[in-house]
Amino acid sequence: MSNPQELLDWIDGELGCHLDEAGDDWIRKARAEVAGGVDDGRFAQLLALASRQARRRAADISSEGRSRAAELLAGWDPVAWSVLDLLRVSLVLSRDDLAEESGPRAILEAFRFGDVGELCALARALQFLPQPEAYLWQARECCRSNMNEVFEAMACDNAFPAKHFDEVAWRALVVKAVFISAPLDRVLGLDNRLSEDLARMALDLADERRSAGREVQPLLWMCLGRHGGQRALDSLEREVAGDSVAGRRAAALALSRAGEGQRLAALAAGESDPQAAAALLAAQDEAPTQAAFRAVLDCPLP
């Protein structure tokens, strides 16, 4: 597990500008109360009452803050965290029984009674906690949520799933992200957990979309890597010949990931969109990582 004190220090640094004096006082007292031991009902109540101190607005974590976060937990990116997430995660980390039986019990109870914002914060807290197996069912449940915010809090920028999900859960997460157009490039560890099965599911989904006369989600092509064989290459060929600029760019990156980088120069020569052509040339030498797909969507991080 991560060192809770280091994480709390990081949170304090980020919270600084967001809280007024009363809010600062409240969170200090609440953390001390949690650290001293509270019953499950009171713990859940404190998580709720945090919303009296801050709105669920973007915490706007600085780039230094994000780098420091990556040092504290490899891969973790707090880019989408809200101020309330900071408050609530700090309450979770203040528990002194996280390694005991009572810690997970209280946290799971808080999930059971959580509102949208609390569920997001709790989902974000899981990556830091010991006894991950205690939260596995709950983490999957978050991925089953119809509330996109909850799904994304668990699936994106979060180190938990790639580390702890089994194959079935992992593939369900990735394909759902494609399906609901969640930012798959921010599903941590995707590149390390590509597989034949995942590629097949993605290719099936692409076929379904085409049969229905709909555009394939550009990020779907991230799911292939070196998998999928000739079927993958055929499907990518079809995409690079298609009308969608984002689709062509993503498919070209995927071709490079599939070991077909030498084809990119030829594709670039025939590319009508100058930006897409430049991207193809850039991708021909080195197989792009999942992060490279963000540029395909041509939109900034939140």
């Binding site: 109540q45 709720a48 009452l49 973007a58 809200s82 309330l84 009674f113 119809n146 996109n148 969507l297």
Partner: protein
């Protein structure tokens, strides 16, 4: 025009309704916890219902750019199942302090029984202790007496009258309600409550002070566009624009913003319609056109 419908049971409404509401200018709603038609027999049913009010229904409304707030409480009808009611009363504090819960409600009287009064008092006490507002449902039958009693007990329990919203008023009850200092909400609901034409007359007679129009649209024959439609009738009947704005937007906002749970600045701003929103006030389009209400 922008409208606030501070009483609607979206659990019972479809996405077609939400789409029509957004198109008609409804920017914010309050969904009070109430009876769902079929009596509940287990505490778990309440846990799931309350959870949906602070989770799923909020998300569903946000997909259409509608800010969704709710109230939590044990309704008067089900207060009469005394054993279960006791469990629900113990559950209410677990949900009532959540983000976006603007009041304890809708509570009050149905048949005016002792069990209803007990539940009402217990919840009033919680509201007073936690400095919360109270939304009172007034009964269909014996309404006048029900409202008088609701006000009397609330006052006796120490609730500030500015924190009390009495709903489902009509021509016969409005004087009592306004005289008490409470907010007087009117439900435009076909057949059993007010209709738009009568509402126009009430506003002409009493003016906009502390008067709120809502739809209470639910699982019965009801109209989720009651608020904008009544506003339109007021306009064509010569009611001035400022009065209309107050009874269909500002008064509800002033009343419920006392809870501290409404981000007024975000609400005054243009609605952000984004099915993949990450934050309540800050939508994040991610390049791919998100699909509305994808079932996953």
């Amino acid at each position: 025009m922008k409208y606030f419908d501070p009483h609607i049971h979206l659990t019972s409404r479809t996405t077609d309704d939400l789409e029509a509401m957004a198109a008609a200018g409804i920017r914010a709603v309050i969904e009070p916890a109430f009876w769902i038609g079929q009596p509940r027999t287990r505490i778990g049913s309440y846990i799931d219902y309350f959870s949906s009010l602070i989770g799923w229904e909020r998300f569903r409304a946000s997909q259409f750019g509608i800010a969704h707030y709710c109230t939590i409480g044990l309704n008067s009808k089900e207060a009469n199942n005394e054993a279960l009611a006791e469990e629900v009363l113990n559950l209410v504090p677990r949900f009532a302090l959540k983000e976006g819960v603007v009041a304890i409600g809708e509570i009050g009287f149905d048949e005016i029984t002792a069990a209803e009064e007990h539940a009402y008092r217990v919840q009033l006490e919680f509201a007073v202790q936690n400095d919360m507002l109270v939304m009172v449902h007034s009964p269909h039958r014996d309404k006048k007496r029900g409202i008088q009693l609701s006000i009397e007990i609330a006052r006796e329990m120490g609730l500030g009258m500015e924190k009390l919203i009495i709903d489902h008023n009509n021509e016969e009850t409005v004087d009592d309600t306004l005289r008490s200092g409470a907010w007087a909400a009117f439900t435009i609901y076909p057949h059993t409550k007010m209709d738009s034409a009568r509402m126009v007359e009430v506003v002409k007679k009493y003016g906009p002070e502390r008067i709120i129009v809502d739809s209470s649209a639910d699982w019965g024959i009801s109209n989720p566009l009651s608020v904008p439609e009544t506003a339109a009738l007021m306009e064509s009947s010569g009611v001035d624009a400022e009065t209309i704005r107050r009874v269909t937007w500002q008064n509800a906002l002033d009343a419920y913003a006392q809870s501290g749970q409404i981000d007024v600045a975000a609400l005054e701003a243009e609605a952000q319609i984004d099915q993949t929103r990450t934050f309540l006030d800050n939508s994040v389009l991610r390049g791919q056109q998100p699909e509305r209400s994808v079932k996953s």
